[in-house]
């Protein structure tokens, strides 16, 4: 077996991004922030996907994370990035734990549909409740960092990069552990797992909560990077669909894949809107079909091939 170079690779990428980020133009920095923030959610969905589960409702956690930040800001005036992130993760972890007790008993299409139902419940509440911003949502004030209120977006950018690196490294370690192996194992054969004396429900529950927390963090960081939250682009079923799309696009092969896939998605969207404004959905849909049929390993499989050829 060849040595895994994921973690050194991620570390180099982090250094390059953090240093290079200081010199890049604002628009590019924004793109990278959105891309990498979303990648956290994709990382969570990747773990679920490896377990054979696809959620059509993870916008629930993305929205909860984002709205946690907005509500902290508006009601309590809390602007500290770490507190915001921590609260968002606690909230999504809590909700994920509760819903996990139910969802862990569902598979396939039923898992997807029940997730969808839960997320649409939140959407239904948000769009009709004035106190929660209704269809307009809220604006979010720029984050501060432990009482420092620096100019510009660079500090948040670095936070997103570092947090992304940390999450990727932790998930990588997780995937190599027994619990991590219980992804493929559960997908392949639940009966065998039970007969080895392990609870499939528990294995799924753990993964579900993990993905909820990661998606919550993604929502919180996106809210801070964007400076606003709204139900339609963050909580509606189309937002869940987008998360699933980026997951498929990235591919399940590596914890680095979500970052690459998500960034490419972000750049693609910007250029597509400029060049062919009425064909964005067609591009997304066409890409989705193409990946499903011709590139089951997603974009990552292209990278993996290139890296192999390098050696």
């Amino acid at each position: 077996m060849s040595r895994d170079r994921t973690i050194p690779g991620l570390t180099v990428a982090l250094a390059v991004c953090a240093i290079g980020g200081y010199f890049i133009p604002d628009w590019l920095m924004n793109q990278m922030m959105f891309g990498f923030a979303r990648a956290l959610a994709i990382l969570g969905l990747l773990v679920l996907w490896r377990t054979g589960l696809v959620s059509f409702g993870h916008a629930l956690y993305f929205g909860l994370g984002a709205y946690a930040v907005a509500l902290l800001d508006i009601n309590l005036g809390i602007s500290d990035a770490f507190v915001r992130l921590g609260v968002a993760m606690l909230v999504t972890g809590g909700v994920g734990t509760l819903l996990g007790f139910i969802l862990r008993n569902y598979r396939d299409i039923f898992f997807a549909m029940l997730s969808l139902a839960f997320s649409m419940v939140l959407y239904g509440i948000l769009v009709k409740t004035e106190a929660l911003g209704s269809t307009d949502g809220f604006t979010v004030s720029p984050p501060t960092f432990l009482s420092a209120a620096p100019e510009g977006k660079y500090p948040l950018f670095v936070l997103i990069c570092v947090f992304g690196w940390l999450a990727a490294v932790l998930v990588q370690g997780y995937l190599r552990s027994t619990l991590g192996r219980l992804t493929t194992a559960v997908r392949d054969n639940e009966i065998r797992v039970e007969y080895l004396g392990y609870s499939v429900a528990r294995a799924i529950h753990i993964k579900y909560v993990m993905s909820a927390v990661l998606t919550g963090a993604a929502g919180a960081l996106t809210a801070m990077a964007l400076g606003q939250v709204d139900p339609d682009s963050m909580v509606n079923w189309t937002a869940s669909g987008e998360l699933v799309f980026v997951t498929i696009l990235s591919g399940p092969g590596s914890v680095a894949a979500p970052f690459i896939g998500s960034l490419i998605f972000e750049l693609l969207r910007t250029y597509a809107f400029e060049l062919v404004p009425h064909a964005w959905q067609m591009i997304v849909g066409g890409t989705l079909l193409a990946v499903i049929f011709f590139l089951p390993g997603g974009i990552w499989s292209l990278f993996a091939r290139a890296l192999k050829a390098d050696k």
């Binding site: 696809v54 059509f56 139910i102 008993n105 569902y106 396939d108 299409i109 039923f110 997807a112 549909m113 029940l114 969808l116 139902a117 839960f118 649409m120 419940v121 959407y123 239904g124 509440i125 769009v127 009709k128 409740t129 079923w237 189309t238 669909g241 699933v244 799309f245 498929i248 009425h278 064909a279 964005w280 959905q281 067609m282 997304v284 849909g285 066409g286 890409t287 989705l288 079909l289 499903i292 049929f293």
Partner: protein, 298 residues
């Protein structure tokens, strides 16, 4: 009293609408085990086609009543063409693959078809009010209602009866029941499952297109108006039990009436209520209210 009548009529009307759009979805799922997101495309394309031609023929001076013919023809044409192309071109290649992956593939195709609408019909809305204007309105219990909206209830009833008759009283229905129960067995018994699939899918597509075409005169047909419909029909189909026609009927009535109550009594919970019901039903009856029987496979 008047509110009650309004709620009931609104509810029935909305239920009928939901039934027409979701019965095709449930039939497709029941037979082919495909949760088809492009059902929303059939709906949208049906609506655009009907609205476009109603406008055209009206300008050419044809009588407004011809609009009903256009609605029916549009639904059949759109459903048959799109249904055939999608089944042969995409789904046929996917039957062996994971259910959820098929949902994603149809989601991809749905997105493509959404933008194709813009290329074909442009970005401006269409208004095909003629059939609706033709039927005017009546007074029921002191409330004025559009007759066109009420005919929706009749159309839904007709669709329900046709489905019931087709499944229970025709040879074709028996084939279908066999395929639904156990595909492999039916294949072994010499049923041409491929053909059953194509025909089923087209029937589902025509029903989806009919939903869009029939609703077109009552709304402005704008880009993206199939987006909400598909999740609502997911909710209906899941509540009733995926693949069950009586389930779709009950699901439509439950969702339609609850929504009507919510809209009039507590508008804040309108959307919430539909999906809360969906979640609660799934939690307590994981396969929906009418779970279709399954063969033993161990």
């Amino acid at each position: 009293m008047e509110t009650l009548i309004t709620i009931i009529l609104d509810g029935l009307q909305y239920s009928s609408y939901l039934f027409i759009v979701s019965v095709g979805l449930t039939i497709t799922f029941g037979v082919m085990k495909i949760l088809n997101v492009t059902h929303a495309s059939f709906y949208t394309w049906g609506a655009y086609t009907a609205a476009f031609f109603i406008g055209q023929f009206s300008e050419m001076g044809w009588p407004d009543a011809f609009g009903f013919v256009i609605i029916l023809v549009s639904a059949i044409a759109v459903g048959t063409v799109l249904g055939y192309l999608i089944e042969r071109g995409l789904l046929r290649r996917m039957y062996e693959r994971d259910e959820v992956l098929i949902v994603l593939a149809t989601f991809g195709l749905f997105l493509v078809l959404e933008d194709l609408i813009l290329l074909v019909f442009g970005v401006n809305p269409y208004f095909a009010y003629q059939p609706m204007a033709l039927l005017e309105s009546v007074e029921i219990g002191g409330i004025t209602r559009d007759v066109y909206g009420l005919t929706l209830i009749g159309v839904a009833a007709l669709v329900a009866v046709l489905c019931w008759y087709g499944l229970n009283r025709t040879n074709w229905g028996k084939l279908l029941t066999a395929v639904i129960y156990d595909r492999e067995m039916s294949e072994a018994m010499g049923i041409n499952v491929t053909r059953v699939y194509v025909v089923t899918f087209i029937i589902g597509a025509v029903l989806g297109a009919l939903g869009g075409a029939y609703i077109a005169p009552t709304v402005s047909v704008t880009p993206g108006f199939g987006v909400d419909v598909i999740v609502l029909s997911f909710a209906v189909v899941v509540i009733g039990g995926m693949g069950s026609i009586p389930g779709a009927l009950i699901g439509s009535i439950v969702v339609g009436l609850m929504r009507a109550v919510a809209v009039h009594e507590l508008p804040e919970v309108e959307l919430f209520v539909v999906f809360a019901i969906m979640a609660v039903v799934l939690v307590f009856r994981p396969e929906g209210l009418f779970a279709p029987a399954k063969p033993r496979k161990i």
